[in-house]
């Protein structure tokens, strides 16, 4: 493939080089002029990555837990509520409300909500961050699935109903198989939004709930390029896996 199409080589280099560069920076300790490549004096960065409660592994696992939970709950609720909205008399008004969280900056939005999070003792907690992220990911899921329900899938449901399928049978035998790809795409996108969310997470988490995205911003602020690279490297792994899964399980059906 590469011999016949040299453009692929260039494309692959463009894709892989930033990741290799991040890896090089992450595991090096110093990189001073005029050294051509970073120096690897010890494995302190690697130790920091795997040891203790504040290790990157723990932060990575917490970030994965938050994003998976937010994505699953948003997709599951957004899918059904989008159906209700798609056939509601006041569809346009309800859709307009779904766009509301995106009209504000996440930090301004978080500031507006902060009182309630403090009142219910959710500020600075992992469930609090999950709820805060859900508040912006859920409307996105509604907007995404709204077009799906408008695409004629309801006629298939009605057809299954006149053939004798009850609500449960219709869902599992018709709606779910026909919506499988859309649900996967929705999950990927909701996961990515939650994964890279910074403003809301930082504000509601009050610095106590550390996610990888928050860590990256923190290290960049401290001008610590090696630890910023380490957290960035971990940060790109799930999106890359999702990209691969998207290509393997979703795009092959189109």
């Amino acid at each position: 493939m590469f011999k016949k199409r040299p453009k692929f080589v260039v494309l692959w280099i463009c894709l892989i080089f930033p990741i290799l560069f991040l890896g090089m920076l992450a595991f090096s300790s110093t990189w001073r002029f005029p050294t051509l490549i970073p120096e690897f004096k010890d494995n302190s960065n690697f130790e920091l990555m795997v040891s203790g409660d504040a290790s990157f592994v723990m932060i990575f696992l917490r970030s994965v837990l938050i994003s998976i939970t937010v994505a699953i709950v948003s997709v599951a609720t957004g899918f059904f509520i989008a159906k209700v909205i798609a056939f509601h008399k006041k569809r346009n008004l309800l859709l307009l409300l779904a766009y509301f969280p995106f009209a504000l900056s996440p930090v301004v939005f978080a500031a507006c909500l902060n009182y309630f999070f403090t009142l219910f003792l959710l500020s600075g907690t992992t469930p609090g961050v999950m709820i805060a992220q859900f508040i912006i990911v859920f409307p996105y899921a509604i907007i995404l699935f709204n077009s799906h329900w408008g695409s004629g899938i309801i006629a298939y449901e009605q057809s299954a109903a006149t053939l004798g399928g009850n609500a449960v049978q219709r869902f599992f035998r018709v709606t779910l198989p026909l919506s499988k790809n859309m649900l996967l795409i929705g999950f990927f996108q909701c996961f990515i939004i939650s994964w890279f969310e910074f403003g809301l997470t930082n504000f509601i988490g009050m610095g106590q709930v550390k996610t990888l995205t928050v860590k990256v911003f923190q290290y960049i602020g401290e001008a610590n390029i090696h630890l910023a690279a380490m957290s960035s490297l971990l940060l790109v792994i799930p999106p890359l896996l999702l990209l691969w899964a998207n290509k393997k399980f979703v795009l092959r059906n189109y």
Binding site: S159, G165, V174
Partner: protein, 242 residues
């Protein structure tokens, strides 16, 4: 009487879609309902199927009022203009769908589905998916899927509208043959005069939400609104001009 529709009314806002529509359908007969696009034919069928709700009036089948009966319990199958085959299921599984949701024994499902496939001339296509068969074959599968469950009534909403002339003719013949074999009762909605005459045992004409049911075919074709006379005159003029 198998089906009795009594004074069905439907409005969208101030716009009257169906105005006190009534009809009676006997067992093993097909009623053709002729009407232009937007006259309310589809709404009437959807209300009978339970997909839409009427504002007033009754739907009675086998002396049972179906007004409060859910769609899946009505035993009335609605066929869209599009075949709407489930794209993730094979031809066999599409036809077997209604039998599977009724949880019939496996052997019975296979036997009934195979027989239907033979009757519809679909042998060899059982394992194909809808995107691998032609428009006419898709419509046959849609018929098979509806008929195999032995419904009370089949509602056909311009089912041949998207087919070419040749396939349409073949499908009309097949439908006539199948309705005889399986003793089907059907409401057949179309905007095509010739198709209405060919497919029906009884006839009705719908205009602006008002339904006229005719006692016989003569009265149907002699009503000027159906356009039959215009059609005859058109061909006479063509003949004269030769």
């Amino acid at each position: 009487m198998l089906l009795e529709i009594q004074n069905i009314e439907k409005k969208y806002g101030e716009h009257v879609i169906l105005n006190r529509v009534s009809l009676r359908l006997a067992s093993n007969t097909t009623m053709s309902i002729l009407g232009r696009s937007g006259c309310g034919k589809t709404t009437l069928l959807k209300i009978i199927a339970g997909i839409e709700q009427q504002d007033a009036g009754n739907i009675i089948a086998d002396n049972i009022n179906l007004n409060a009966t859910q769609i899946h319990e009505r035993e009335i199958v609605y066929l869209w203009q599009e075949p709407l085959l489930f794209p993730h299921l094979t031809v066999f599984e599409n036809i077997a769908f209604g039998l599977r949701v009724r949880k019939l024994p496996k052997a019975e499902i296979i036997e009934k589905t195979q027989r239907m496939i033979q009757d519809l001339g679909l042998e060899g296509h059982e394992r194909k998916f809808p995107n691998q068969i032609s428009g006419g074959q898709k419509q046959r599968v849609a018929f098979g899927r509806a008929i195999v469950i032995n419904p009370r009534i089949i509602l056909l909403d311009e089912p041949f509208g998207n087919l070419d002339v040749e396939t349409r003719g073949a499908m009309q013949q097949l439908f006539k043959q199948i309705t005889g074999t399986y003793h089907l009762s059907a409401l057949f909605v179309t905007h095509d005069l010739k198709e209405a005459v060919l497919m029906g045992d009884t006839y009705a004409y719908m205009e602006s939400g008002n339904l006229t049911v005719y006692e016989n075919r003569d009265k149907f074709i002699h009503d000027e609104r159906t356009g039959f006379k215009n059609e005859i005159n058109f061909w006479k003029e063509i003949e004269k001009s030769k």
